[in-house]
Symmetry: C2
Subunit: 485 residues, 2 copies
């Protein structure tokens, strides 16, 4: 059936776009053959990674006082249009349901995001200061009618995310939540998934429709392009007022709560994880997220087949008992084929067991990222694997940090900015303003250098100096700019 | 802020409909105020139950060789219409997207179910007998444009389910899967969630559109009405052929695989769980599914406040360490209010700790279902709770079985059937036929007795005897009939 020896060998550095498209198909992460633009199929290998991501993210959210809810996937037109900036920002991207089939109901939109659903209920649920903070999230599929070219997992018309909606009594508390959201991105996306990022407070012209301000998490892809991962927003109070959400404080005074929202997108984040860690031979999955953490390959040896099978079953049971995801590949493929296949899929550890290993009470362990083989005692295997898995993830993170550290270049003038961008770096430079008056200079950069002004640091204050390299006015802010998809 | 002492005391037996509506609101399971018919909000208390249900169901599916995938929420009209019986059955209930916003794409439906998405891909994924069986599932929100009156969780226009789609080389294997699906419903819905059911092979006129046959799981609600929980289907081969899904067998011969699907719906199943176990004072949640399994109420005692707080924190940490969901209610409400609140929410165990308990190194444990209080040593509390939790769930299941056992009545004639139905029972009787020719008698029963012929046992053979009580023809099958919503 057209089975051919597949090899994967594409330079991630030189041909990232090809590498990305090919590995998603070869490693069976996604399937692009569904036939509707921007709606992709996520195959088991991808769906199991996303499932693990959801569990980790949801645990982190619950540990920080968020509770789960489930909102309808449709939003009535009246809700959606209640806040003018929000509707202005999202309306062009909305899928509407055919009015002929909703039977006299109000016109319904497929949710592009769910502020206007949550706020409808916060109007009922928030009564007094005792109800605050109210911190909720949902895991949901959301829909954006993208007109730009879609890219698998990166820009699609349906995606799978988590959205939090938090309400506070004071602006100070809400702003602290925005910082907490940045910390969560750091704790989960960086320190567990191994994807470093720049927390960027967006320029005023690029914030979330309905927000006072937005902090996005910009990740540098292997080709130097920047993509936004979770963003967090402080919501404008007139958005909250439009839904009549209010509370009575300790002094019986009616007030409007301050709201924030945060949107880590699992499907899009998986794109960064795969791109970040992969190498020219395919995926290199973090140990924590790999659907198969250890693949056991029994080696030849028909003479002692039953002894071997028993040993393999015993090891498998031991690992499973310690919640290690293990798979035995006892198919009739040649060992070389199996090795290649599981390497390409990104499995962290391959365990080979044959005659020699059986005799010595050990296994041979191949590690995906270093490509090294070592002999490991059969005693305490689960403990050994867990320790090696932790070290493996640390290496992945260290390597990602190294790449990321090289990714930002300080620039003084237009020529330096251009040079940095052309060599696939993010440029950092002093800039006139991140307020409305800076937009013209940003547009110039977009047109001349095909790069986007990402904003200023959202987690710390970086001082500007000198003049804006575009308009020559006194620089007020230190900004970052990068190319994006 | 209108805080009033709430009490819950509605007879579940006499006023089930009121009980159900009120408890969903009072226990904060769902919220009906979203304003779009049939689209409900599931609040944290409900969402956390559903989350636990999903985890248990997904584990069971993986343990039986199913792998997870994620399909698009939209289905192109061409896919949807490829199989005439399927489209005929579902078309009236489909939400279509407004064609003006899909930009020249094919007309898109919101998935009412995903056969026509999975089969599109099985066409690519299934090549050879080596690919079989292929067993996949997804957790998904699906949409049915219900025109009948909707009921929270029971009949809604969006619901949250799991759907499996399994492909086999032979009809025998596929039929074995249908039986395995019934076993899974038994293992999970009955033996873990405590909801007994009748596996009913539907009459031909009531099967899934596109199926050879359907086995539904009928649950008897407290008011004697029957609702369908998971159903499993053997799919007709021309449905599979319409998607050109085929495989090459060992002898290089091209064949059409046999497909099955199974659809446990978490939101609807929660309705049965809540209805099954609740009592006149509110919810009684299974220990396994309760968002809070133990609520700790520190009792008064300002003199030893710090000692008490330390003891409570220590117990909480111990329980959490053993993955027991625990909550400390140290709000300033009166103890009686707290007791009432957590009883109404269905928390299995309330742990009271005060001066007496501290002195004796024990806690007072109130158990929700029996309403008994016992003193329990503070030593090995997690172990004690786990054991009591297992016993508690066993009691719930035994009680459900007892109710269920009373629910089916053997009937010989029309009068007996009517009597059984009128007293809120399911009637079992010999019947002319579950094939096309029996439909007229079923319609008669529907019209005259407002009851539905549910079908014949799907898991075993029950012999018919005598004549059909409706038409008088020789009875070929033993059927069940019940009232439904």
């Amino acid at each position: 059936m057209g089975k051919k020896k597949t090899t994967f060998n594409i330079s991630k550095k030189d041909n990232f776009s090809e590498w990305y498209t090919e590995i998603l198909a070869k490693a069976e992460v996604t399937d692009m053959r569904y036939g509707v633009k921007g709606f992709i199929v996520i195959r088991p290998w991808g769906a199991r990674i996303i499932d693990k991501m959801y569990r980790i993210y949801e645990s982190a959210l619950r540990a920080t006082g968020h509770d789960v809810a489930m909102m309808p996937a449709v939003i009535p037109e009246g809700n959606f249009k209640r806040e003018s900036k929000h509707v202005e920002g999202f309306a062009p991207d909305v899928f509407w349901l055919d009015e002929n089939c909703t039977g006299g109901d109000e016109k319904l939109a497929l949710r592009p995001t769910s502020e206007t659903a949550f706020y409808e209920l916060y109007n009922f649920w928030i009564r007094s200061y005792r109800d605050l903070p109210m911190k909720m999230y949902q895991r949901a599929n959301v829909f954006r009618n993208e007109t730009k070219a879609t890219r698998p997992l990166i820009r699609s018309r349906e995606f799978h995310w988590i959205e939090t909606h938090d309400a506070f009594a004071t602006k100070k508390d809400a702003e602290a939540q925005v910082q907490d959201d940045i910390v969560m991105t750091e704790e989960v996306m960086h320190k567990i998934f191994g994807v470093p990022f720049l927390p960027m407070r967006r320029p005023q012209w690029d914030k979330f429709p309905g927000a006072v301000y937005t902090v996005g998490s910009d990740v540098i892809m292997p080709d130097g392009k920047v993509i936004q991962q979770p963003s967090t927003h402080l919501i404008e109070q007139h958005f909250v007022k439009a839904f009549d959400v209010k509370f009575v404080d300790e002094k019986e005074k009616e007030k409007t709560p301050w709201l924030t929202c945060y949107g880590p997108c699992m499907s899009r984040m998986m794109a960064s994880i795969l791109a970040q860690h992969g190498d020219d031979n395919g995926l290199v999955l973090p140990y924590t997220l790999a659907p198969v953490q250890v693949v056991i390959v029994p080696m030849g040896l028909t003479a002692h087949r039953s002894q071997l099978t028993a040993a393999v079953e015993d090891i498998k049971a031991q690992l499973l008992h310690e919640y290690i995801d293990v798979k035995v590949d006892d198919s009739d493929k040649r060992p070389g084929e199996k090795f290649f296949f599981w390497e390409m899929k990104g499995v962290p550890f391959r365990m080979e067991i044959g005659e020699k290993e059986l005799e010595n009470d050990e296994v041979t362990l191949f590690t995906r990222d270093t490509k090294e083989k070592v002999s490991v005692s059969i005693r305490d295997l689960p403990e050994t694997i867990k320790n090696l898995g932790a070290e493996y993830d640390e290496r992945l993170i260290a390597r990602a940090n190294e790449f990321f550290g090289e990714g930002v270049v300080d620039c003084k003038d237009k020529a330096e900015i251009k040079k940095a961008l052309d060599s696939g770096k993010v440029a950092r430079f002093s800039f006139c303003s991140a307020e409305k008056e800076g937009e013209e200079c940003a547009e110039f950069i977009e047109k001349e250098l095909q790069a986007r002004v990402m904003g200023t640091r959202g987690d710390l204050n970086e001082k500007a100096s000198g003049k804006c390299p575009i308009c020559g006015a006194k620089a007020k802010v230190k900004v970052y700019a990068g190319k994006s998809y």
